[in-house]
């Protein structure tokens, strides 16, 4: 049977455990990244992990202390820490878009003339004008895509930002290094293949440039984008997903293993917090009421005070009713 193909690592010959999900996978013995046809893929990078389980307590403590003010959160307990290496595609593209359209806007003209009885009459006119818009968008950029379909893992979508910012700090993926600094991490591979990542990146840039053109014009007549790919990189970033319990409920925090910063995190909303914001609503009411009382002769002043206090109230009431705070 000649059509039987064995799955063995072309780098170290170890048997490979393939998985129906993965479009790119790594040899368990040597860590070499391989494409689904078994060929070697070398553009594999990682933002190394620099924190350990011991740091997690402090990071979470600081996070709650800093972002969870006014809530009286004291007794919470970290119940689960799971480190995971999340896969991303980072596609370097150089894109140029030429667009053309028109823009419609208003010019205001104020004219002063002398009336028949010698008094001055001021008239204001609003005139609709049009202008031809023609422009180029030229940019080199790194499009970051998540390596999985659906972003149901906590903080996955938000971690894109870290890659966009810190991709220049990424180092080539090295198995030996991995065993030292990321040995506790669960490794997750990509479901999306390299050429699919290229195509999807193209669509992202294309849609984005068109949106920019549409923002600049009232109507776009023509918009054409040229894209050149300058490299596709498979990037892993270490993320610590932490669960903590507060009053019997679980809240989640995702921490970047590279910098120790919070990617996204949840903070409980306590009764104290709700009461504080409810009291604030009433304080604003009293303040605005006093102001209006003394300026009761002016309909404008009382209306403005009413609107400002209402807008503040919309925000404070939102805090009174929300289930929890999400930071990130």
């Amino acid at each position: 049977m000649s059509q039987v193909i064995g799955f063995q690592c072309p780098h170290c010959n170890a048997p490979l455990d393939i998985n129906p999900e993965d479009a790119i996978f790594n040899c368990e013995a040597c860590g070499q990244a391989l494409l689904s046809d078994g060929s070697i893929f070398d553009n594999h990078y990682i933002l190394s992990n620099s924190i350990s389980k011991g740091n997690i307590q402090d990071i979470v403590k600081n996070f709650i202390k800093k972002k969870g003010k006014l809530r009286g959160i004291k007794k919470y307990k970290i119940t689960n820490i799971s480190p995971i290496l999340l896969p991303f595609w980072s596609v370097a593209v150089s894109a140029s878009t030429h667009y053309m359209g028109y823009r419609q806007y208003t010019e205001t003209r104020t004219r002063t003339r002398r009336g028949s009885k010698g008094q001055t009459i001021t008239t204001t006119e609003h005139i609709t004008v049009y202008r031809h818009v023609e422009n180029n968008i030229n940019e080199k950029r790194l499009v970051v895509l998540i390596g999985r379909r659906g972003s149901s893992m906590y903080g996955y979508e938000n971690a894109k930002e870290i890659i966009r910012r810190d991709f220049n700090k990424a180092v080539p993926f090295n198995h030996n290094q991995l065993v030292k600094t990321e040995k506790d991490f669960q490794y997750l591979s990509s479901e999306i293949a390299a050429d699919a990542a290229n195509q999807l990146a193209k669509t992202v840039v294309f849609d984005d440039h068109r949106a920019q053109a549409e923002k600049a014009c009232t109507k776009v007549f023509d918009c054409a984008t040229q894209i050149t790919f300058e490299g596709v990189y498979f990037v892993h970033i270490p993320v610590w997903k932490v669960d903590y319990h507060f009053k019997g409920e679980t809240y989640r925090v995702a921490i970047s293993g590279n910098t120790g910063e919070i990617i996204i995190g949840e903070i409980p909303v306590t009764k104290i917090f709700r009461m504080i914001f409810l009291s604030l609503t009433f304080l604003f009411l009293i303040g605005g009421g006093t102001f209006s009382y003394f300026l009761g002769y002016s309909a404008v002043a009382t209306s403005i005070a009413g609107i400002i206090v209402s807008l503040l109230g919309l925000l404070t009431l939102r805090n009174v009713f929300k289930p929890m705070t999400v930071v990130g």
């Binding site: 455990d17 202008r131 999807l200 193209k202 023509d222 918009c223 009382t302 009413g306 919309l314 009174v320």
Partner: protein, 333 residues
């Protein structure tokens, strides 16, 4: 059954006719059997949360809502539980559309300050190409469930579909209304709609479009959902939970009696403030002081009722712009 030899150690292996991958029991090397042309990729997500774990997840989410009864851990009782597998198709489509037609351009006259006061539109022949690739998730159950449509599905941890697995845990399997070709057609149609929308942005009259849609990858995925009816202190509620990830698709939120008292008190207060304000303003007592009360009372009572009566809780939701752009199917990027 047929026999092949392991390409690594030459051990004889027995393979089923439909099997696409085989693992050698001796050297652990997996091999493709080459019989993959007719196999539809069909996966399922295993049910990772049993009913008691799902209860914990649900109660956890409910307790975070303001005014949830404190004793929910004890008082929540399931009255009806059903587990159903719903079908989704995950399809990547590449399309290249060449179009010809008439596109608009404008000429301007009557200069005024930074622009022109008059604009005239003209048509000119125009042609162009759209060439891109997009991914679609297609919800393929006959009954349209808006909450399942809006839910951000996860595909992690999928395994090859096996009817018996579903039977073992007494889960119903909802069959896809599309077969492979229909699902592909559905995705191709969505892709064509997107291209048509884009073309209509470039030209106003389409004369001819030739396209070449290619389905790059396709698979079917069955995802388990719990449909729950439950009671809290004699009142009935319902919820849908994702059995694979434990996330809440949708639930109504039970509230304690004291919560309703507080909401009523707050509403009555703002309501009185609003009416008092209107009264004072109309009667011209204290000048225009009443306007302040009328505005704040009116807006805040609306806000209180809007937030206080919010019954539904959804853990994930697809963004509205995506939905507007892509309708029933969706693309991730």
């Amino acid at each position: 059954m047929r026999s092949i030899l392991c390409p690594n150690c030459s051990a004889p292996l027995e393979v089923d006719e439909t099997q696409s991958v085989v693992k050698c029991p001796y050297c652990k090397v997996q091999s493709k059997t080459g019989k993959k042309e007719k196999i539809i990729e069909h996966f399922m997500l295993p049910v990772a949360y049993d009913i008691s774990q799902i209860r914990t997840e649900l109660v956890g989410d409910l307790l975070k809502q303001p005014g949830a009864p404190d004793d929910l851990h004890k008082s929540l009782k399931f009255t009806k539980v059903s587990l159903k597998y719903y079908p989704y198709w995950i399809i990547t489509v590449h399309n290249r559309s060449n179009y010809t037609g008439n596109g608009e351009y404008a000429t301007y006259s009557w200069p005024y300050r930074s622009g022109y006061r008059q604009i005239k539109f003209h048509l000119k022949p125009e042609k162009g190409v759209f060439d891109d690739e997009r991914e679609f998730i297609i919800f393929a159950a006959e009954e349209v469930n808006q909450y399942l449509l809006d839910f951000q599905i996860a595909t992690r941890g999928k395994v090859y579909y096996d009817k018996n697995e579903a039977k073992k845990i007494k889960a119903d399997v909802v069959q896809s209304i599309f077969n492979l070709d229909q699902a592909k057609q559905e995705a191709v149609n969505s892709m064509r709609d997107i291209h048509k929308g884009l073309i209509l942005k470039e030209i106003t009259q389409i004369i001819e479009v030739t396209d070449n849609p290619i389905v790059k990858s396709v698979y079917q995925l069955h995802i388990p959902f719990y449909f729950l009816n439950y009671e809290v202190h004699g009142r009935s509620f319902d919820a849908i939970m994702d059995g694979a990830t434990g996330r809440t698709v949708i639930t109504k939120t039970p509230r304690s009696a004291s919560y309703w008292v507080q909401i009523s008190a707050l509403s009555v207060f703002f309501g009185l403030l609003c009416s008092a304000g209107i009264f004072l303003a109309v009667q011209q007592i204290l000048g225009y002081f009443g306007i302040f009360g009328a505005i704040t009372g009116g807006l805040l009572i609306i806000r209180t009722l809007q937030l206080g009566f919010k019954r539904r809780y959804q853990e994930t939701r697809r963004s509205k712009t995506r939905k507007r752009l892509f309708g029933r199917s969706t693309s991730w990027y």
